[in-house]
Symmetry: C2
Subunit: 398 residues, 2 copies
């Protein structure tokens, strides 16, 4: 039989990460393709103790019953204060929505703002899933040029004026895929343009707490003038991705619409997962666990940087992030990292092809490397395998 | 400031249930407005024991890490067999998707099939949230007439031919809101028309295991000819709504598209919630707990039927369900249950206005009564309060 699927589905296929995720089960493959937090620091014992207490308490039935769409009230209350840690002051309950992971925050923002054909400005390159989600709303992602400090503000303003985007999507801290961080001045500039042209900004911040060097920069929302910035964060990278809990903070009108949109999407986020997240934060366990994890992230990033320096050809131009999960690298323009990918797999190393992060499908010569989920030894082995593969291609000019 | 929200948001407001849900926190109000499973039978101790074991096991990290969109593999495998209990044979892994509650199943079906302006046929009256979700896709719900056995097949066929709907949505067992169950012959008839006209059917089945009298009827999907029926069920009413776990079973092509759609919505369902659901089912705890709960549901339904018989005026025409959570009743045509609602609240009783369940906003004279979450005494008190309120109105003719 033939089914008449919606137009939005025509352009959608499983994202590269999801397909590659399946490959990762083969243990001989050194995977730089994932975006997983380090397994070692998933706080299994704390979560076990907390969920035991939640389910033994008189209030256990409450977390197993239906809850309200806005989120588990103690968690929402706590989150209004939690975001102060990234410089977001004055958040109240009505500004705060619990979401089922950061992905849902992006989806709800799209649901609330986008009609077919609308333009959304994104960084070039940007988080690949946002491109997929935008296509699912039949919207048009357009890439904005970058500079050393963040977005190229001139290009941003020009594209705001020319394209009248519905919103701007950015990952300003330890960006996925590049690992770069926008300067405070650049954030202020983006927030200023948002206010000037009354264009909402979706600030996606899953990584900022994973900083292992350099000085913290306040959230872009800290510079918000007039409520145009919606801040979305997630507990996936700092507590547990399997729980699927995140938070959106924004203007009351926007959060109200996102709440109504969420009601149709999944009614509410798993209450048990919300209660676990609440207790974990309330008990002050988050920051000590991150502190414990950071040396591992730092050492793995350093191992990857050292291996790149040791093995990779000088033609490989790459970032050197102060946190997060990713290094971004670019080969000479003639290298096609999509075509080469199957060969990488036969050499037991995986990366993500740069192409999937570009609104216009360019970036064929780039790769994203994740350093957080392999041992130091395997990181060296993997980079060496990449070098052998790409050196051939660079020399061959193919 | 003014935000330019998407067109879909213009017609959306919080649903009646969500707003009413907030009222329910006032303990003096006897609430017939909810749709919650009985608190008494949320298996708190079993879930506590299971989650303790899951989080103490070597595999604990697996349920706290990212998972695949399709769902936690052991649960998916188990669910292919689980649906045999409602007469669905031959489900394989590729036919089976774990979803974040039944609501997400409806949302994904819409995402996969609907373009703006598309028609979806629903029962008149139908589950109110499906109407909201359809509006969020800018689709047009059209009501199909009913008969004693289920949908009026003549009206269904005529509307299929005239309106070329993208799919048909039904709750064939203990329908929300009416509590009615379609006969096997009626299900066969619907499945036959679906195949004849190649129109998918979304069968929403959250309630069928809550049968306290009468004989089980196989799922509509049991009568599926050619893969047109997508079966969606949920563990909210029989295990715990707070976990947000459900299942969709359908043709591989449709399930594949729903999986891609789900990836953008929430990446995957909470792995901890999935693992708990898996263990609960695997250990054979589901049916014994339902067996323990059914006498309570039966006694509460009987108490409501007895109170209706004792107090309510003969002009109140109502259903007498064999399971589920709801009784549906209709007053004479001049009664406006929306207008009267605030008075009901002042008399400390809450119901849901029939209007919200109709695609065309009719049903002003009807109410939905939930019997599952109040004590026998409070059920009698509440029905008596309704009687006092509505008798006045019927006599007054307003």
């Amino acid at each position: 039989m033939e089914f008449q699927f919606s137009t939005r589905m025509h352009s959608l296929s499983g994202t590269a990460t999801r397909e590659i995720f399946k490959l990762l089960s083969r243990p001989e493959i050194v995977s730089f393709a994932g975006g997983l937090p380090a397994n070692e620091f998933l706080p299994v014992a704390d979560i076990a103790a907390i969920s035991g207490e939640i389910l033994a308490a008189d209030s256990a039935r409450k977390v197993l019953q239906y809850g309200v769409t806005e989120g588990y009230l103690p968690l929402r209350e706590l989150l209004t204060g939690y975001v102060k840690d990234v410089g977001i002051e004055g958040a109240e309950l009505d500004n705060t929505l619990v979401i089922s992971g950061g992905q849902q925050g992006i989806d709800l923002m799209c649901k609330v703002f986008l009609d077919k054909g609308d333009v959304v400005l994104v960084e070039d390159p940007t988080y690949l899933a946002v491109l997929q989600i935008l296509h699912s709303y039949e919207a048009k992602p357009v890439g904005v040029k970058t500079c050393k400090d963040g977005l190229d503000l001139g290009d941003l303003e020009q594209k705001i004026r020319a394209l009248k985007p519905k919103f701007i999507y950015v990952v300003p801290t330890f960006s996925n895929p590049t690992g770069k961080t926008y300067s405070a001045a650049n954030r202020k500039g983006i927030a200023g343009l948002a206010a000037k042209y009354q264009i909402p900004v979706l600030e996606d911040d899953p990584y900022s707490k994973l900083r292992f060097s350099g000085e913290p920069v306040p959230a872009l929302k800290h510079f918000d003038e007039g409520g145009y910035v919606v801040y979305v964060s997630s507990f996936s990278k700092i507590l547990s991705p399997g729980l699927r809990v995140g938070v959106a903070v924004g203007a009351k009108e926007i959060i109200r619409k996102m709440t109504i949109a969420k009601q149709g999407s999944d009614l509410h986020t798993s209450s048990l997962a919300q209660a676990i997240t609440f207790e974990y934060l309330k008990r002050g366990l988050l920051y000590p666990n991150i502190e414990k994890a950071l040396p591992l992230y730092r050492s793995r990033k350093n191992a990857m940087m050292a291996a790149i320096k040791k093995y990779m050809p000088k033609e490989f131009v790459h970032t050197d992030p102060d946190g997060g999960l990713f290094i971004w690298g670019e080969f000479p323009a003639h290298i096609d990292t999509v075509k080469i990918f199957p060969e990488a797999i036969t050499r037991n190393v995986a990366y993500i092809q740069g192409k999937v992060f570009y609104a216009d499908g360019s970036g064929l010569n780039a790769i994203r490397l994740n350093f957080s989920n392999e041992s130091l030894e395997r990181i060296e082995t993997g980079v060496k395998a990449l070098e052998e593969l790409f050196k051939e291609k660079i020399v061959a000019g193919t």
